[in-house]
Amino acid sequence: MLANRLIACFDVINGMVTKASQFQNNIDIEDAVTAAKRVYEMQIDELIFYDVTASAEKRPIDLNLVEAVGKEVFVPYTVGGGIRNLTDMYNVLKSGAEKISVDSMAVRNPEIIAQGAKEFGSQCIVLSMQVKRVGRSEKIPSGYEIAIDGARVFTGMDALEWARRGAGLGAGEVVVNSIDNDGTHHGYDLEITSLIADHLRIPVVASGGAGAMEHLYDVFTKTQASAGIISSMLYSPRLERNFTVREIKEYLHGRGVAIRPFIYR
């Protein structure tokens, strides 16, 4: 059977992994290639890199970094930030990434999802969405609104509606990033994760808020999410203690969650 996935997420600025809280106050951790190699050796299931300033600085993603990671990491990795068009997507894939994450740019130009899916296959296109709890209204029936540009700009778009539209356009996977829970270490937003996972027939990835192993247990048992993003748990100095992939996997396995086992050899 298919295992639930643990995905390490790195926000990268100038080649350095940084950690933000609610999309602000970034602190540097270590260089991205070293970080990638370290979590690969810890037996993470998958990695995601966001070149967080590429988009704002209107520059393409750092392909040397994408390439350097590919030489060290033999599990899938996704790259996002600064993707503007099909050429950027092609370059990222050719540099060694498996998937491309689109976020703000897809909100501005939804057709890029369809174009990318047609050119490279749906499995390459990850729709990442930043969602904010705003309360249910006529315009926002799910109670969650889509924000873009590092959660600074609100779009008036309903989160579930956008997720459905993205899936319809050909996204192969959706990442639901909770702006409210990001960096809080209080757990994923189970409500919106569950709502979106229940309404989509593609894999849904929970993101934002994981700070304890119970949070992964909760997201895999209380929602239909296929994967959970962890970052603080692995490396944030803001957390009282960090976790190894091994202990998270063994904890989940012990509680009956389907997970790729840690291999001793």
Partner: protein, 209 residues
Amino acid sequence: MIGIINYKAGNSHSVMNACKKIGVGCKYVARPEDFDGVTAVILPGVGSAKATLGSLRELGVLPRLEELVLKEKIPFLGICVGLQILFEHSEEDDVDCLGWIGGTVVEFDNRRVRVPQIGWNRLTWKKSDPVLAGLGESEFFYFVNSYYAKPADEADILAAADYDGEFCAMIRHGNIYASQCHIEKSGMVGLTFLKNFCEGGAASCSRID
């Protein structure tokens, strides 16, 4: 020397990285003459069967490849869509494929499971094989696929996994190996499989066949 077919839609780069990591001699192959000196071939795969076949035809490598694999029987490993195009037909874009192996490629039912299948699935081995040396009784490999093969002869199935029922995850048909899962992205178990193919497995299958 392992030849890695380098075509537009493929992820040959990742396969090259994996081959370098395990220390086997390899080079890209993109023209018929590039096959000179190649003792085994890997066909990486990402994307659709139709696009992949189109790319291979555009490069003009298929006649030479078929001569090497079907006549000279050099070891071959197809990955992901590189497995799917070996069959007779694919439901994806309703396209006729190479027909090296009997059977068809069909789609998962998205009313029953999420499609594409993305993630690590547990393989169980259907026969013993030198490429499985050093691997456990079952191992997790990484999959990204909406379609899967249904071989006409079940004896061709090397490994199976479960996604809405059992499906074919790997093929061994004489000198032809093929994997629906991305062995180049399956961590240390994938690298072990690849090393076995490139060294022992590939050598032994050219002896047997």
